[in-house]
């Protein structure tokens, strides 16, 4: 440690003199993720901690920068229709790889590795967790050692699924050759220490605890990374991770500090570190159940066959519920720097953000009451509105999480002000999001009136995300509840837009359609968006080069990280 400290000081002095630092000059860097990495193969684990830790080692062909733009990484450039990389009919894309790139074991990186990566993930017996990245891929072939052509079965207006972003990096063929299909999980050694092209390589991997890494001697830029070694520690909780950077300075970088905003800002006052935040696509939203969740329906509960919801199908009720919520307060109380009020499920990238629904940004209890009065929902003797014997009584469920329970309590109070009775329920996240067929408490089964969680999409293209709310995606016993359309929203006009989006290539036109889809969902009240959620991380003041990226791995530019004086 002491030697590293001296090295660090020396490097800082060099930088101060304006000299360019060489590889390894800045000593050691400590990264803290409060969820520990289990495996360094993102194809076998979709967990953020595993994807981001492995992004220090293995890299994709192209990735997103901090502004959400695609940048070439292991490729010469991003293929487009304009530069001839993408076929006119949108059914194929051809990547040209950079020359002279080597794996950390010294062998050459070639198109064969890229082809192999696709075969590895597309093997039906492998249980690959990033399979959607390779959706509609027909063939992948190496035209020459530095050219890869991907052909799709359908026209792909956004052909950047395979090999872009931290979820789809290239793994080395030689190392994973015997790890195909059912053998994938047994290759412990490869999964714990993949050879990579990235700035670091593994020296020791302790599952669910800590990864020790050193600078990759074969990294393509001879002056990078600035750090000779790196520790990626995991485990614990977000609050103590924040403390280790902001108050004690033991660690240089801490990830995803979703804790009480007031605690975080008081920690930052110690002056040792800086809190950074950035916004991606995540939106905390309420899903409105448009079908009837009544328990006496048995199997038909919360399905289209079970019939419409007794009162949430009334558009006035949905609008009133949304208007009664003070989103500014919600985001300040629960999220601080990491949240801002929103009225869209598609709030970003900027080109896709609609302004047509901004009515909900300001709480309006009077208008909400007026809407309900006009619709004939009159307060009963206990103050709860009712009509034709139906009471506005809502079961509101979400996962167990301090911020979500605060939000629930606030919303219950506001809904009380407009004569809506609310019963709150929270379910352990592993159960709620678990999708266990035998559990009645999953978010897919949705045996409640309202449920709340955050959803988002990777990268910058919203097509797959917006397709979540087509009629086909409605979860039901027939499809084993495997669907993303939680509100059970079904509108042929929306499905038409979805088809149209899949045939449109120009980004401006895609934005128009995506906005229309967002507005349709919002104005018909299938969802009640609450807070546009950002990512909050913290770094110590002596760590430079941080560009917090919500579109890709947070550690995407670790090669550029360095010590500042």
């Amino acid at each position: 440690m002491r030697k590293q400290f001296i090295l660090t000081a020396a490097a800082a002095a060099l930088l101060a003199n304006g000299a360019w630092a060489a590889r390894g000059d800045d000593g050691h860097v400590n990264i803290l993720y409060w969820q520990a990495a289990s495996i360094l193969n993102p194809y076998l684990s979709g967990g953020t901690k595993d994807i981001e830790s492995s992004s220090l080692i293995i890299e994709p062909l192209g990735r997103y920068d901090e502004n959400g733009n695609l940048v070439a990484w292991l490729a010469e450039e991003i293929p487009t229709v304009a530069n001839g990389g993408v076929a006119e009919d949108l059914t194929s894309i051809t990547w040209t790889l950079k020359q002279g790139i080597k794996w950390s074991d010294g062998t050459d990186f070639t198109a064969d590795d890229v082809v192999f990566t696709a075969e590895y993930c597309m093997d039906p017996n492998g249980g690959c967790q990033q399979e959607t990245k390779f959706a509609d891929v027909d063939t992948i072939e190496a035209l020459d050692p530095h050219t890869v052509k991907i052909t799709f079965t359908v026209p792909k207006p956004f052909p950047y699924g395979p090999f872009t972003g931290g979820e789809s990096p290239i793994i080395q063929k030689a190392q994973f050759l015997d790890c195909m299909g059912p053998n994938a999980p047994t290759c412990t050694e490869a999964n714990f220490g993949p050879h990579g092209t990235g700035p670091f390589r593994v020296t020791e991997f302790r599952a669910n605890d800590v990864i020790s890494m050193e600078a990759n001697p074969n990294y393509r830029d001879p002056n990078k990374p600035a750090f000779a070694s790196l520790t990626f520690k995991g485990g614990g909780d977000a609050a103590s991770a924040a403390r280790a950077v902001l108050e004690t300075g033991e660690f240089d970088y801490a990830w995803n500090l979703q804790i009480d905003p007031s605690i975080l800002s008081s920690m930052a006052e110690a002056g040792k570190g800086t809190v950074v935040s950035a916004f991606g696509t995540g939106v905390e939203r309420m899903m409105v159940n448009l079908t009837n969740p009544a328990a006496d329906l048995g199997e038909a509960r919360s399905t289209v066959e079970g019939g419409p919801h007794p009162f949430l199908t009334d558009a006035n009720v949905r609008r009133a519920l949304s208007l009664a919520i003070d989103r500014v307060t919600l985001s300040e109380v629960g999220y601080g720097d990491a949240g801002k009020p929103t009225c869209n499920v598609l709030p970003a990238p900027a080109i896709y953000a609609s302004t047509a629904n901004d009515e909900c940004l300001v709480q309006n209890v009077d208008l909400a009451n007026q809407l309900l009065d006009e619709a004939g929902w009159m307060p009963g003797s206990d103050g709860v509105r009712e009509k034709d014997g139906v009471r506005l009584s809502i079961l509101y469920q979400t996962s167990t999480n301090a911020v979500r329970q605060d939000t629930q309590a606030l919303v219950k109070q506001w809904w009380g002000d407009i004569g809506v009775e609310t019963e709150l329920r929270n379910i352990d996240a592993a159960v709620f999001f678990g999708g266990d067929q035998s559990s009645p408490d999953t978010f897919q089964k949705f045996y409640a009136d309202i449920e709340m969680y955050t959803n988002l999409f990777n990268g910058t293209d919203p097509e797959a995300y917006m397709n979540n709310w087509t009629c086909d995606e409605i979860p039901s016993p027939a499809n084993n509840w495997l669907g993303n359309n939680m509100p059970r929203y079904c509108n042929p006009a929306y499905d038409d837009l979805s088809v149209q989006l899949s045939k449109t290539a120009a980004i401006e036109d895609r934005a128009v359609i995506a906005k229309q889809m967002n507005d349709m969902l919002m104005q018909e009240g299938a969802m009640i968006p609450l807070v546009h959620r950002g990512r909050v991380s913290a770094h110590i003041n002596t760590l430079g080069g941080i560009k917090l990226n919500t579109w890709d791995s947070e550690l995407w530019n670790a090669a550029d990280w360095h010590r500042v004086k």
């Binding site: 953020t48 999980p185 614990g236 103590s240 280790a244 108050e247 678990g434 266990d436 495997l482």
Partner: protein, 337 residues
Amino acid sequence: MLNYTLRRLFFAVPTLLVISFLIFLLLDLAPNDPTGNLPMTIPPEVREKIRISLGLDQAIHIRYIKWLEQFFVSEPLHVLEQWFNISIGDSESRVRVQSWATRSPAFDLIAERMPQTLWVVGMSYVVGILIALPIGVISAYRQYSWFDQVGSFISMVGFSVPTFFTGVLMIVVFSVKLEWLPSIYDTTLEVVDLDSFWLQFKQMIMPVMVLGLFNAAQLSRFMRASMLDNLNQDYVRTARAKGIREKSVVLLHVLRNSLSPVVTVLALGIPTVFGGAIITEQIFRVNGLGQLLIIGIQGADIPLVQTLTFIFAILIVLFNLIADVLYGVLDPRIRYE
């Protein structure tokens, strides 16, 4: 005695089998899912395929029998092969108990973490005993003195204040305010010289003391009660009447007789040392077995949790037996025939 021990060992086998089946059922029926913690961007169809690749589509009795085979056949064979550097049968295709989250053998994860748990939690147990015994003895000998009152107060506080509070309190005082000690346990640190020993010592102080004080609070009450029982016995009066020095009366006669129930309690507590300290390990980020268990539970890593809990069950059954046998050894009045 040997007969008794063998009989007990024999009966432990069906007990453990029933326990293993109960653990398996409990974990299987719990509404938890290994894909539950994956990001929302992974669609449900892919999640279903992941479940199938983990073997979750098979019937419960098949999965149980497979686990039994892996635990009782594959793992011991693997250990034998490692020890004697030989290969028995078809060792290439033998499936060991695989953790779902890391896709690596669960026993390797356990073996990797055992040393830290034994060091930190074991040390805290030793520290706890070293603090508790003298306090218990003095408190009993000077019953209702100021020492006894203060001791009682501290052990009550120590026992009722949870470690997640004392742990964080210590971090705030010693790491944040005073900056004397690290708040995060560096598990990669290797002790090679005095400097690294000093670092290891510094990083162990807080977790060991937090746990040690908690253990001491419990044990000192036990020691005190047991001493009090004996101090009023006739043999003590006889010893004093014979003119034996007070020091010998207390330390030789009373203490030895009072220790036998305490030793039993100590033996029964040893499995919890192996079990690690879930909360303390999590707070200080010590990579022990307790932390492994909690990560396994959170990620629904069922084979790992099943294996860990079952090992704990074996240890508990074993140390119960050891405690019983020790009791007989320490107290000649007790005979198992």
